[in-house]
């Protein structure tokens, strides 16, 4: 399984903090997003917004990053700390 987490504005838009999904062969952040959108069509637009950041196991990654069973994937809006 893959644990997917959402933060801040993105979490509010989706109405979801976290969701578990099955992992697949040759998985990637992009593929995780596609499976989420297939399940929740109204998530397509928020998850495709420009500037959305991806983290796998607490490190920022690009969308083609390989995702393995047991990984934690996060979708986050652009950060605004400091």
């Amino acid at each position: 399984m893959i644990e997917v987490r959402f933060f801040a504005r993105l979490r509010d838009q989706l109405g979801c903090d976290a969701i578990s999904i099955e992992s697949v062969e040759q998985d990637s952040v992009t593929l995780v997003r596609e499976r989420l959108v297939a399940e929740h069509p109204d998530w397509r637009e928020p998850l495709s917004q420009s500037g959305v950041l991806f983290a796998v196991n607490h490190a920022l990654v690009k969308s083609d990053h390989v995702v393995k069973d047991g990984d934690e994937v996060a979708f986050m809006p652009p950060v605004t700390g400091g």
Partner: protein, 148 residues
């Protein structure tokens, strides 16, 4: 040293910790960011900061470690608060000491620039229209350009 905490911090104490007992590094630079009453023209009455526990500390450690590779630094201190904060309260503290003035200025600015773009914090402002997520600024993103 890095702290992500709900509690307020004390700038005077942090200054003492950074410089106390050290007679080798002549230059200390500090940045303090505070909650302000106006942002992009909106009146703000308070702030709430969300973060990604587990990732936040790692992201900040990576930034400090990059800074240490670029400049000869002595002590580095980063504190970032999370949770609710009132107007005027301190949000973030970055302190750097070095024997070189340039190094301490640049490292402090570098740490702030990367923190603004890479550390998983999100600000929600209390405004007249209710709680509002703060938009990321293109300017903050462009600021990274100077370090690349």
């Amino acid at each position: 040293m890095i702290s992500v905490q709900r509690e307020p911090f004390d700038v005077a104490h942090e200054y003492k910790q950074l410089t106390g007992g050290d007679v080798e590094s002549g230059a200390a630079v500090f940045f303090v960011g505070r909650v302000r009453a106006r942002n992009d023209g909106r009146r703000v009455s308070g702030l709430s900061l969300e973060h990604y526990p587990g990732m936040t500390e790692k992201a900040l450690e990576a930034i400090v470690s990059d800074a240490r590779e670029r400049w000869p630094l002595e002590r580095v201190r980063v504190i970032h608060r999370v949770g609710p904060m009132a107007l005027g309260e301190e949000i973030v503290f970055v302190g750097v000491t070095s024997s070189h003035r340039d190094a301490s200025f640049q490292a402090a600015e570098f740490i702030m620039d990367y923190l603004k773009n890479r550390a998983p914090f999100w600000k929600q402002e209390q405004t007249e229209e209710g709680p509002t997520w703060v938009e990321a600024k293109a300017k903050d993103h462009e600021a990274l350009g100077r370090w690349q």
